[in-house]
């Protein structure tokens, strides 16, 4: 197909194609594993390619759940890019549900941070441009 006959639509389409596989590519080799010895309410999960960044933030979010009795994370060996997350819950929920709620809460938190940060920044920029003018 000659480049000059690219319609605007076709271009948008190809750009979307580009965005799609990017996400999947990264997901490919990263999987959550349930470590042996788990029960409904107590389980250890292994996250491949994850570290303290996600581990500690997720631990915080899960510990904020009142139905969770225990949550902790560890990186068993520093040269293995693996993070283990242990969740023990009361009978009212399951470890898996607690993990899912952790993800949801963390994502909600991110939305609030983005929103408040943008507002504060725009306000600051406005005040400063006013100062510059006066």
């Amino acid at each position: 197909m000659p480049g000059s006959v690219h319609s605007q639509d076709a271009q948008d389409q190809s750009m979307m194609d580009v965005e799609q596989p990017q996400d999947e590519l990264m997901l490919d080799e990263r999987r959550i594993l349930v470590l042996p010895g788990s029960s409904e309410t107590a389980a250890s999960f292994q996250f491949e390619g994850e570290g303290h960044t996600m581990g500690n933030a997720l631990r915080f979010a899960i510990m904020k759940n009142p139905a969770v009795d225990f949550c902790g994370y560890t990186i068993p060996h520093p040269s293995d890019a693996k993070m283990h997350l242990r969740i023990q819950t009361s009978d009212s929920t399951t470890a898996l549900e607690a993990l899912e709620k952790g993800f949801n809460d963390l994502m909600d938190l991110c939305d609030v941070v983005t929103e408040k940060f943008t507002v504060a920044r725009d306000q600051f920029n406005e005040e400063n441009s006013n100062k510059m003018q006066s």
Partner: protein, 374 residues
């Protein structure tokens, strides 16, 4: 039973980490369900929305400073770590040396080139795709090079004699042409759809034009093709979008008992300028029994003006006369961020990007969770 709600004073007390002469106290956060009997502390989005605050202190393109208030250290630290290691940027990754007769070796030159921060149209850089190398995947077949994953730059430069120079000239920069190779000598040619993004001001170039890459003498020559790709700081520090990204906790100074007169002056000297101020003791204070100011009307007393700029050096705790009169601390959930961009993106954008990355990671793992549930 409705959950107990602790008083404001109690909450304030819990927010302060004590900094003593040799020790720290009240270190871990305790706002979790089950820690304080009867109190809730469960995750509540509405409450977080109410409590969380952002204060901006500075917003320059390459340096931003702001406070995030009401966050847990785990989350603040996640943002900081993502800023340094997980936001994709463009850097020189592969160097094809066609000719290099300079004294600096190929591999050393390639390493130096990789570290040069590049900038260009942000839209274009965002459009570019990046691919994370699988761990231990060095040396495997390189992905196909296309306009959306590789930016090609050239470094073609030769050092020559400068014929019109005075006989007694000793400065090699005047004596020869191109004696010094700078980052401004990197040239960029867009290919494919890059022609739409990286044109004019949006062209890919070094952030600083005067980074010294190599030195040459007449007859020496460097001809190289440089392939830039997007990557993350976790893979190599050259991909890190920030020069520094750090936070500190807001210092807290409490004067428990009056510090008056000469002592007040000495006390102020224990802190950076502007942190402690001197104010005259009012007659009202002096007349109040048990205030500690009795009979000191008109004398100078020490007051906390601006704890923000304190370094928490703990100098005041070394002096006998201030024993028991002052309490130093830091506010547990007040993070003063300092983000210094290396030039590819603006600092405030970088922080927003880090929040986005954390959310994206959560979304991605959550999708992986569905496989487990099935």
């Amino acid at each position: 039973m409705a959950p107990l709600v602790p008083s404001q004073e109690e909450l304030q007390r819990r927010r302060i980490i004590g900094v003593n002469a040799e020790t720290v106290t009240n270190i871990p956060s305790t706002d979790f369900p089950g820690h304080w009997p009867g109190e809730s502390h469960g995750w509540a989005l509405d409450q977080f929305k109410n409590d969380f605050k952002v204060e901006y202190h500075r917003n320059d393109p390459y340096e931003a400073s702001f406070s995030l208030i009401g966050l847990d250290a785990a989350v603040a630290n996640a943002f900081r770590r993502i800023l340094m290691a997980e936001i994709p940027t463009l850097a020189i990754e592969t160097v094809y040396v066609h000719n290099n007769t300079s004294v600096i070796q190929d591999e050393v030159l390639a390493q130096r080139l990789g570290l040069i921060p590049l900038k260009g149209s942000v839209e274009g850089i965002n459009w570019m795709q990046w691919e994370q190398k699988a761990p231990g995947d060095e040396g495997s077949a390189a992905p196909e090079l296309t306009d959306f994953n590789t930016v090609v730059m050239q470094l073609d430069i030769e050092c020559t004699q400068n014929p019109d120079v005075a006989d007694d000239e000793t400065d090699p920069r005047k004596l020869y042409n191109n004696a010094h190779v700078y980052s401004k000598h990197l040239t960029f040619t867009p290919v494919g759809r890059q022609e739409q993004f990286f044109v004019g001001d949006g062209a890919i170039r070094a952030v600083q034009p005067d980074i010294l890459i190599a030195k040459m003498r007449p007859g020496q020559k460097i001809e190289m093709e440089l392939h830039c790709v997007k990557g993350i700081g976790a893979d190599h520090a050259k991909f890190s979008p920030v020069a520094t990204a750090s936070y500190r906790l807001l210092p807290d100074i409490q004067i428990l008992r009056p510090i008056i007169g000469e002592d007040a002056k000495k006390f102020a000297k224990c802190f950076p300028k502007g942190v402690i101020g001197l104010e005259p003791v009012t007659s009202e204070e002096a007349s109040r029994a048990g205030s500690g100011y009795e009979g000191h009307a008109g004398e100078q007393k020490a007051v906390v003006k601006d704890a923000f700029n304190d370094t928490v050096s703990r100098e005041c705790l070394r002096h006998e006369e201030f024993q028991g009169k002052v309490k130093l601390g830091r506010v547990r959930d007040h993070f003063i961020f300092n983000v210094e961009s290396s030039g590819q993106f603006e600092s405030d954008t970088l922080f927003l990007e880090s929040v986005k990355v954390l959310k994206l990671k959560c979304a991605r793992w959550k999708r992986g969770l569905n496989d487990l549930m099935a």
